[in-house]
Symmetry: C2
Subunit: 111 residues, 2 copies
Amino acid sequence: MNSIDEATRLQIMRLLADNPELTQRELAEALGISLGSAHYCLRALIRTGLVKADNFRHSSNRRRYAYFLTPTGLAEKVRATRAFLERKQAEHEALQQEIARLRQELGEERS
Amino acid sequence: MNSIDEATRLQIMRLLADNPELTQRELAEALGISLGSAHYCLRALIRTGLVKADNFRHSSNRRRYAYFLTPTGLAEKVRATRAFLERKQAEHEALQQEIARLRQELGEERS
DNA sequence: CCGAGGTTGTTCATTCCCTGAACATGCATG
DNA sequence: CATGCATGTTCAGGGAATGAACAACCTCGG
């Protein structure tokens, strides 16, 4: 994940909003990407001030960081969600047209 | 395009079915992929007998090949179109759910 | 005929991005 | 203290995509 993918960024923010104690490995698995990519993307979020990594060594378990969205991060999450929704709606419409075209091409009724 | 992408293969076959005189460069541009990828994918189609390259040096223009779908290619195109349609329908439904979830998350009415 | 110019197919070094194994670090437990 | 373990961090390696460069062929004007 180099040219930080917008969708991945957003998914990470959404996951962390609900569960800040997720591990990088858990994030990676949840998103279906590699550990390296998750790390890189998370690093970018921290660098740009959208996520803050709080370490809690006093905690009883061995996890070292909890990744909280900053206020800026929360706002960005809303903004990105809106943009993402718009893209998804466009995709949805395009798909509808494509499906209609394919159906016509096959000369079939709707299943 | 190494592990020959199913979708790309199908798109090429669909384009050629309507216009066998398309250039590799034109195919690439139409699909939004590189010349090298289009070449590679077309080569695979020819190798597997789905497309036949007819050269017509006697033609008045300078293009060298017309890429026709073979009978096998035509059948494969229908089969692949069906599979493609099914995938697209699944995508469509998944998108619908995702859009609903995003809308709810944003607490917005439908636009 | 010939050479210049143009169009196309073909190759392949380069780039980009992802992957996950290996390593570093800190905590808990005995 | 030492061992084990969960986690964060790094980075060499590989696969796929790119497009510049090359090869082959055609046309056309001279």
